[in-house]
Amino acid sequence: MRMLTLAKRNTKEILRDPINLGFGLGFPLVLILLLSAIQASIPVSLFEIERLAPGIAVFGLSFVTLFSATLISKDRGSSLLQRLYTTPLTPADFILGYTLPILPLSLAQGLICYLVAILLGLSPSVNILIALAFIIPISLLYIALGLLCGSVLNDKQVGGICGALLTNLSAWLSGIWFDLELVGGVFEKIANILPFLHAVELERAALAGNFAEITGHLLWVLGYAAATLFLAILLFLRQMKRQ
């Protein structure tokens, strides 16, 4: 009950921030519309909607990290967290209260992305629902990154690290816009080690119905999500103790 009160408040704060809505929903939609328009005008298959939509659905989650990290860092900066630390809320209440509200937002973001993709020519199928379900483990990774960044960075640093660095990593090392094999070398190796490419390929495999490919990518994503969440919880508890 106490945790849900905090979760409800966090949901309201996120939804009432027009920048969150603009970037979280608007920017991925602009990208999908723009790249689909480019695809319609070029003779080669560069941004086919079947490969683009899952990529954008995952890329949009990097803004979820930004929402989550910004909210936590602002709460730390305004001393609201300090006030809440003197209430009966437990550490688990805080972690769940900052994590749970983001999950439905992530799903809503993915749903909107796929609905727009259907309007742009993606064939409606049950695989879209399966791909949406796999948004949950992927969003856990991005939410954990938000908790981690929000626990150690101030809101200006969050803007730089999550708003610029993470979105770029998520964009360039995920194979959304181009085939990473074309670049090859160290770039491809780094992309394979990091979770972003696996998150996009997981979504693509689910959407295409290539279920045999799902497990490997899912394990990468879950492994990173678990490790990041563990580190994020440690750092959140450390800053809580330091208050």
Binding site: S78, S79, L80, R83, T87, D93, Q243
Partner: protein, 242 residues
């Protein structure tokens, strides 16, 4: 029964001693002000008493409950209004109060009653549906204090509650703090000497983590041989009191 009994409370950050063997008692219903220049150890003392940071040495009993061993019980009888205005900016005043009611586990009936009481006490009715982040500094401080009072604390910590407020807003907040006297034990930290003199039953003056003097405002003035409280404070801090 004393509301607060502090026994040799010490906080060290590495080699820096922020609070050094602090011992004092505060009676129930008393308004006690902690004064001192920047870095004197006031905020660190409040953080230790409110279980936000653990003491390095010593202990304090809040209505008989140890801040070292009974943090959950201590948290159930205290509330803190931090130095910065600690409100949820995107929520309305009502939603801010509902948030604190919720984290204290109030049911709907108790929540509505408490919000009504606080609106009356702090005059919040006219802003109850406005976003907290869009209110003036004075109104935000009122909301912050209202949030601290939601849990009906026995001991209330007000850390620099009037910092940065204009004269009128400060005067109005003083009236609110005066209205709390006797019902709630209030620990106030402030840089404003006239505020401490006007509101406090007793004051403690700290410097470099140590308590230099502890008495009523009149007692401090008598100790320093002056009728001016600010002069008395300066003399205590500079070590030239009689």
């Amino acid at each position: 029964m004393n509301a607060i009994e502090i026994r040799g409370l010490t906080k060290k950050y590495g080699t820096l001693v922020a609070v050094d063997s602090l011992s004092l008692t505060v009676g129930e219903g008393e308004l006690f002000s902690l004064l001192g220049v920047n870095g004197a150890g006031k905020t660190t003392t409040v953080k230790m008493l409110s279980c936000l940071t653990a003491p390095t040495e010593g202990d304090a009993l809040l209505l008989g409950k140890s801040i070292r061993e009974s943090t959950t019980e201590v948290k159930s009888i205290i509330a803190v209004s931090p130095q910065e205005t600690a409100v949820a900016a995107g929520l309305s005043v009502r939603e801010n109060l509902e948030l604190i009611c919720g984290v204290h586990g109030f049911d709907r009936e108790k929540r509505e009653r408490k919000i009504g009481e606080l609106c009356e006490l702090l005059g919040l009715s006219e802003v109850i549906n406005r976003r907290a982040g869009r209110l003036s500094g004075g109104w935000q401080r009122r909301v912050s204090i209202a949030m601290a009072l939601v849990s009906e604390p026995k001991i209330l910590f007000l850390d620099e509650p009037t910092l940065g407020l204009d004269v009128i807003a400060r005067s109005e907040l003083w009236d609110i703090i005066r209205a709390l006297k006797g019902n709630v034990t209030v620990i106030l930290t402030t840089h404003y000497m006239e505020e401490a003199e006007a509101l406090s039953d007793r004051v403690g003056i700290m410097k470099d983590g140590r308590l230099l003097a502890c008495d009523t405002p009149d007692g401090i003035k008598a100790l320093c041989g002056t009728d001016n409280f600010e002069q008395a404070f300066i003399r205590v801090v500079k070590g030239v009191a009689k």
